[in-house]
Amino acid sequence: MTESPTSSAPTRALDFSPRPGSAPLGRQILAQASMEARLMLRNGEQLLLALVIPVVVLIGGVKGGAHLGLDIDGPLVDLLTPGVLALAVMSTSFTSLAIATGFERRYGVIKRLGASPLPRTGLLAGKVLALFAVELVQLFVIGGVGQLLGWTPAPGAIGLMLAILLGTAAFAALGLFVAGVLRAEATLAAANLIYLLLLAGGAVVLPASVYGDAIGALAQWLPSGALGEAMRTALVDGGIAWRDLGVLACWAVIGTGLTARTFKWE
């Protein structure tokens, strides 16, 4: 498009003649993912949930943990950092995703994108990719704070990746379920309440064994307990917690089934 320097026309030429077409699906998904990740990292409340609360829990736990009288081996920071990473994955893939999706439905964003070339599967893929991007930022920040506090992780990269992957799948499916059946405000309340309940009693930051027999036994079967345990197995022992990863996979299947049956795009 050229414009002669002498032209003083207020509007330059725009060629509106039809030339329709979709961008390649991969590019559409990347565009969607980068947009969603940016929006998540820009939003104050989301940032509080994604980074500030986990970091506060980590520092508070390590500094004040000695007074809790926990019966554990090794330094407290080695136990707490994987738990806080699990908490971070939970906050992003469950709470943030549910709230964001609830308001997308409310403001007609999903409806509007439904009339764009981006197919529904592409929208979903973009969302998942955005979650991984935010989780990567969380991993660096929380891992960095952990290191400053003296954390020495065990070399459990595969276990860590599987935990993040299946934890994200399970919590994202459940988050979309909540966002799909409730109104935006109710989603906001429910997603925060469930997050707080799981933070307090879901064996995510601390192992199920510290909760006593009854709650501990139940917590092992919750996605929060399974994710926390999978993280600790990977980063404390350097192993792979197949049982807990299996529990997460089951929750992912249940959540996906529920979402597929109930989710409304508008």
Binding site: M1, F16, S17, P18, S22, Q28, R112, A115
Partner: protein
């Protein structure tokens, strides 16, 4: 080549309520077609059926020869959609949102030029939630056309816009048509339909009640219109009594307690007779005007109601 839009016997219901009632209409390519009707006439429902959001309960809808529900993925890149209200993340900046939609298309328009054209330049970094209503509307329009579609569906494009923004929007829609894009818009502004549309489809209660160019629609039937608004409610039987005075071929329709409209081969002498009738019946005119027949009058004649007062 199939027409841009073909609707045949469309029926849409919300529970017991029939929103669209056996509607059939055709939109030719490269035209601006206005679907005109009062609020609740079924305009948005009809549009959303064309966009593939709703499945026809009865009848057939084809857009560019495609079934908007079953062939949606094929159709979507070829159409542009402007929804009524929102459709953007509240935290997304105006230009960021437009860039995002552009990236989903293969050959998008120059985003900066488009934004400049629609006067979105100065609010490019403003988050969507802090844009004015008119700016949000213009952004919605930009999002609808950025992918260079063959047909755009715009739902009440200028609702809540100031005069300047409305003119900019009309100019853009005309330019789209001149470049070979089919424009389908819903509106309840008569002026919008008169100024912009090549073809007007008037809908009421989910039915098509008239169809044609603005000129065709206003040429037939009555030649002029007299509007009478009075200071106090009319006495009972006023329309009948006035009709008796004016004689045959002239129609008197009471719109509400204090206004009525006279249509037919009316002229200055008709105006004088209406004025004398007012005097004899002790009603005091607030305004009494003689005007060319407009789309508003067509609507009143067809339905006995006013479409809008602005």
């Amino acid at each position: 080549m199939p027409p841009a839009v073909e609707i045949d016997g469309l029926v849409m219901r919300y529970g017991e309520k029939v929103a669209v009632d056996d509607l059939s209409l055709t939109v030719p390519r490269h035209s601006v077609t206005a679907v005109l009707g009062p609020n609740g006439a079924g305009k948005t429902t009809t549009l959303e059926t064309c966009e593939g959001y709703r499945k026809p309960h009865q009848g057939k809808v084809r857009v560019l020869g495609l079934d908007p529900v079953r062939q949606r993925q094929q159709l979507l890149p070829r159409i542009g959609v402007m929804l009524q209200g929102s459709g953007a993340w509240s935290g997304a900046r105006a230009m960021e949102m437009l860039h995002h939609v552009a990236r989903l298309h293969a050959h998008p328009l120059d985003v900066d030029l488009l934004a400049e054209r629609l006067g979105l330049g100065e609010c490019g970094r403003t988050p969507y939630r802090r844009l004015s209503g008119g700016q949000q509307q213009r952004l919605g329009l930009a999002m609808a056309v950025v992918g260079r579609p063959e047909i755009v569906f715009v739902d009440e494009p200028t609702a809540g816009m100031d005069v300047q923004a409305r003119r900019t929007t009309w100019a853009l829609l005309r330019e789209l048509r001149d470049h070979g894009v089919t424009v389908v818009l819903t509106t309840h502004y008569l002026e919008e339909a008169e100024q912009l549309a090549d073809l007007v489809q008037i809908i009421d209660h989910g039915r098509l009640i008239a169809s044609g160019s603005p000129l065709e629609l206003t040429r037939g039937g009555a030649t002029a219109t007299i509007r009478l608004v009075v200071t106090r409610p009319f006495p009972p039987g006023a329309p009948e009594s006035l009709r008796a005075v004016l004689g045959r071929g002239i129609e008197v329709t009471q719109l509400d307690a204090r206004s009525l409209v006279v249509t037919g081969p009316a002229d200055g002498s008709t105006l004088a007779r209406v004025s004398r009738w007012c005097e004899e019946h002790d009603v005091l005119p607030e305004s009494l005007t003689l005007g060319r027949r407009s789309l508003e009058d067509v609507f009143v004649e067809l339905t006995g109601r006013e479409l809008s007062r602005d």
